[in-house]
């Protein structure tokens, strides 16, 4: 593939990661922060932005580690451990950097950054990248698109939950229960994109 073709492929993968293969609404990864941090729009925006950033960077780093270290050594089966270590280390590193250079952003994001380490969507994105044999440039598109898809989904959910303050939800369904029902209905709408862009 030439560079131009790869850029195009990256764009297509990015778009399909947002809509057709939305990591949250079609593969249901990253559900725990999705249900617990979507109560307010502001905080979910912070978390979403952090996820976009971390996901883009860690998929790239993991791609490098996988293709430049694990594959030459024939140690592909170690990828789960290595990916998790890289993600955790990267999140720590980013936390320190932000704390040092932009305390204000750190205050807004700070709480969510450590949380992201255990967000399964981040690890999932890296694993999908391996399974689907993406090249480095396509991986950039994939990581960014998957993060953006997650961001959009949690943003929509936060908006809905803000509106839900006026609703009378049965006692047994309050909190996570109704959130999962809404997520199900959202996923129902997202099924419509099946088949767009292959």
């Amino acid at each position: 593939m030439s560079l131009n073709q790869e850029m195009w492929a990256a764009l297509v993968v990015c778009f399909s990661a947002v809509f057709t293969q939305n990591i949250l609404l079609t593969t249901f990864l990253g559900m725990c922060p999705f249900t617990s941090v979507s109560r307010e729009v502001k905080t979910s925006m912070g978390l979403g932005a952090a996820v976009v950033f971390v996901m883009t960077c860690t998929t790239i780093l993991n791609w490098m580690a996988y293709h430049w270290i694990l594959v030459p050594l024939g140690l592909e089966f170690y990828r789960f451990i290595l990916f998790i270590i890289i993600i955790a280390a990267f999140v720590q590193f980013v936390e320190m950097l932000i704390d040092r250079y932009s305390p204000k952003l750190y205050q807004n994001l700070g709480i969510f950054l450590p949380l992201i380490t255990v967000n399964c969507a981040i690890l999932g994105a890296s694993l999908f990248m391996v399974i689907r044999d993406y090249t480095l440039i396509v991986t950039v598109g994939w990581g960014f698109g998957a993060g953006l898809g997650w961001f959009l989904a949690i943003l929509a959910m936060a908006g809905i939950r803000q509106k839900l303050n006026a609703a009378r939800i049965p006692a047994g369904l309050q909190g996570p229960g109704i959130t999962l029902i809404i997520a199900g209905l959202m996923a129902l709408a997202f099924i419509g994109f099946t088949g767009v862009l292959g």
Partner: protein, 354 residues
Amino acid sequence: MAQKTAKKGILRRQKPMDRVLVALVPCLIGSIYFFGWRCAAMVLVACITGFLTEWVFCRKRNEPVTEAVFVTSVLYALVMPPTVPWHVLIIGIVFAIIFSKEVFGGFGRNIFNPALAGRCFVYICFPVALTAMWSPPAQESTGALLQWSTVTSPDAITGASPMGQMKAGKLIPVTEIGPDVREKVPFKIGQDETVKIDRVAFLKSLLFGRISGTAGVTSALLILIGGVYLFWTKTASRTTIITVILAYAVFNWILTLAGVPRFYGVLGPVLGGGFLFGAFFMATDPVSSPKTEPGRIIYGIIIALGTVTIRNFSIFNGGLMFSILLGNMFGPIIDYGVNSYKNAKKTKAKEGDE
């Protein structure tokens, strides 16, 4: 149903809902005329099931059932294929009432349009019943008024709707006249066959509705009669209706000009596949659509964009249904954004004054 509505304390009448029901009458009559009395029975079954489902919940809350449940049920029944099996019809409306309305606390609190959520659910669960079983429209001048259903034999129900055939590239509207150009939309097209059809005749049949499709929405003219009534009386949001239709037309126009295959101008997609029905009756649901005017414009554009994408590029045909649900999904956050933008502007203006 008449006795039930007469009882006091069980049903709450709502003026705007009355108007929507009146606006739906032409479509209902059309469905009976084209596909037989089974359509009327479908509407009735949906209404009874919907009413009972809601009543179970409302009784617990000691509230009367609202009239909106009939609007939901009628809308839902009219976008079902005329051959839909009874159990599919009932499952859909029960799902719609329980999971998109009652779990949120009943009327006025739902996030998604109940009729569409129900249809979407059965669309995914019973894809064959909803996408591959159509009945041919009655061809006589008396229509199907003397028939229960237009399906005469089991093999008569495996056609495809004209929009589906157009998407598959089997039905091609053309402007030139030739020996192979047909005047009528064929009900069935063979496996490897492509049929050319006169563009004007095609648009005419979309307008008058003698084509296969979902029960109540084959005729653009009948939808427009009811729709204009809603538009005129301001029952439905004018902003939403205008934005959805206009944006959809513009997107189709751009893609036609760009020469994308299987795009044949603006009028076909706008008139066909119940697009107008969705724009007038579904997208305008006052509960599930955004409350602010700028929000409604963004909402309309999202719906139009989603419809163009899903109708033409995904494996499903029900583009408008999915995109209205998508619009509902992003509606609250759009409202939130618009409101916070307005507030920010206000505080800024205040600061400027001081």
